[in-house]
């Protein structure tokens, strides 16, 4: 099966799909926000 090389025009929708539908993505995002909050509190 040929591997579908993605068209550059589809870059943004692909990323959006990653953000919106992948639950795994939100784990690092939540941890990053926690880290930034901690940094702001401790500085």
């Amino acid at each position: 099966m040929a591997y579908p090389v993605r068209d550059g025009n589809h870059l943004i929708p692909t990323m959006l799909k990653s953000i919106l539908t992948d639950l795994h993505f939100w784990l690092p995002v939540v941890v990053l926000l926690l880290g930034v909050t901690l940094l702001a509190a401790l500085r």
């Binding site: 099966m1 040929a2 591997y3 579908p4 090389v5 993605r6 550059g8 589809h10 870059l11 692909t14 990323m15 799909k17 990653s18 953000i19 539908t21 992948d22 795994h24 993505f25 784990l27 690092p28 995002v29 941890v31 990053l32 926690l34 880290g35 930034v36 901690l38 940094l39 401790l42 500085r43």
Partner: protein, 431 residues
């Protein structure tokens, strides 16, 4: 045919396991060596500037090394194929930068001896995410669990002993202690979570060299933003950078060593997973200690009890690394890894056969990438030029060093570079 836990590993799996172990150990050597040049930077330079200086060196090296090894055409093709991972790489870079800044605050508040072991819990956090999200250690059998979890814990305990023994911090401000502990644990959580994007990228077939090329934008952008916030705006930051120009070479050199170590860590995460790869690369503390003690004489005149603690801590850490090295994943565990890979392929419409080949060390992207461009040489020359210029304007502070041990440790570190590099090239062509 069902596969029961504890089945023998295939020759291919065993070979990749060995490769991943060697990469993890090489990562430890080079991440540890990265600490040596920064020791030549005098006290009095803001930690945020040190961090920014190193990350800028990292940025230069991260663009240059992947391009020199694989070429821009390859990197761009790889990124286009797995475009959804670009945002993951940026996120990982941001996590690294925030965690790194938290460690600065942690050292300020509780000292390195308490902070270092606390943020080194990142390996246990990574092990947990690897198990939960990527099926690492699933169907692995009890013995492998004991080896990996026991090994990671031993490396952590060894790290605690080393940090305690080498601590020069005599008093910790009580009112800041809780802040420092929070900052350390926060850094451990962030770094441990940063391995989610790593593993996500590699079970989707992305080349580690492509991943770090994007990662570095998230890293530099966030570090620069934090430096601007903490240093009081662009004017102050530029003024401070001008003030430390004479030591920037050492920070860049540290950053360069760090990039090499990080690349090996990425390949370890690809071939043996984050549960095994990250604890191995955390042996960098042992190498950092070797540079500090043998080259810079940091333990000279210390009590016998301190030296015994260092010896015991080092042995415990080495024991942990050996235990993990012996925990080859069985076929049943590899089948679990494969399920995680197939899940990613299904979600993002990737070809599981092609991704499976990449995970076995093949490099189909290389066959499709076009030839090298002339300006790649120009970029490499420019990067070299930056290092040469910084070296010309730098001056080394009169810190006594042991040249014999510099030679021995340099040979040891370079042996890891050449040995691991040759293995990676032979088995995977840096795939």
């Amino acid at each position: 045919m069902s596969i029961s836990p504890g089945n023998n590993t295939t020759d291919s799996g065993r070979s990749l396991h060995k490769l991943g172990i060697v990469c993890g150990l090489a990562a430890g050597a080079w991440l540890g060596a990265a600490e040596a040049p920064t020791k030549l930077v005098t006290i009095g330079v803001s930690p945020f500037l040190i961090s920014l200086g190193m990350v800028t060196g990292v940025f230069v090296a991260r663009w240059t090394l992947p391009m020199a090894l694989k070429g821009t055409s390859y990197i761009l093709l790889d990124l286009r194929e797995k475009a959804h991972l670009v945002v993951w790489a940026l996120l990982a870079g941001m996590l690294w930068a925030v965690a790194n800044t938290l460690t600065v605050l942690a050292i300020r508040d509780v000292g390195l001896s308490i902070a270092f072991p606390l943020w080194n819990t990142n390996s246990l956090v990574g092990l947990f995410w690897g198990w939960l999200l990527f099926n690492e250690l699933r169907n692995a059998g009890r013995r492998r669990w004991v080896k990996v979890l026991g090994g990671a814990t031993a490396i952590l305990i060894g790290g605690c002993l080393l940090a305690y023994a080498t601590s020069h911090q005599s008093a910790v401000s009580p009112e800041r202690a809780s802040f420092g502990i929070l900052a350390s644990l926060g850094a451990g959580l962030l770094w441990g979570t940063m391995y989610i994007p790593y593993r996500k990228a590699y079970i989707s077939g992305m080349n580690p060299l492509s991943f770090v090329t994007v990662f570095t934008f998230g890293e530099l952008g966030t570090t620069l933003t934090l430096a601007l916030v903490f240093q009081g705006g662009p004017g102050n930051l530029l003024h401070e950078l001008g003030r430390v120009q004479s030591v920037l070479f050492w920070l860049f050199l540290g950053g360069f060593c760090w990039v090499i170590g990080d690349l090996f860590q990425q390949f370890a995460a690809k071939y043996i997973g984050i549960g095994r790869g990250i604890p191995l690369s955390n042996t960098n503390q042992l190498w950092g200690l070797a540079w500090g003690v043998l080259v810079f004489g940091e333990l000279a005149g210390q009590a016998l009890s301190t030296q015994i603690l260092v010896a015991v801590g080092s042995l415990v850490m080495i024991g942990g690394a050996v235990a993990i090295s012996m925990a080859e994943p069985s076929d049943s565990e590899r089948a679990s890894w494969r399920k995680a890979m197939e899940r990613e392929c299904s979600r993002y419409h990737l070809d599981p056969v092609r991704v499976g080949k990449i995970l076995e060390g093949e490099d189909p992207v290389a066959k499709e990438a076009s030839s090298r461009r002339w300006w790649e040489l120009l970029v490499v020359t420019a990067a070299l030029g930056i290092f040469i210029w910084l070296a010309a304007v730098t001056h080394r502070h009169p810190i006594p060093v042991n040249l014999f041990w510099i030679f021995v440790l340099s040979i040891g570190t370079l042996t890891f570079l050449v040995g691991s590099g040759v293995l990676l090239w032979r088995q995977t062509r840096f795939s």
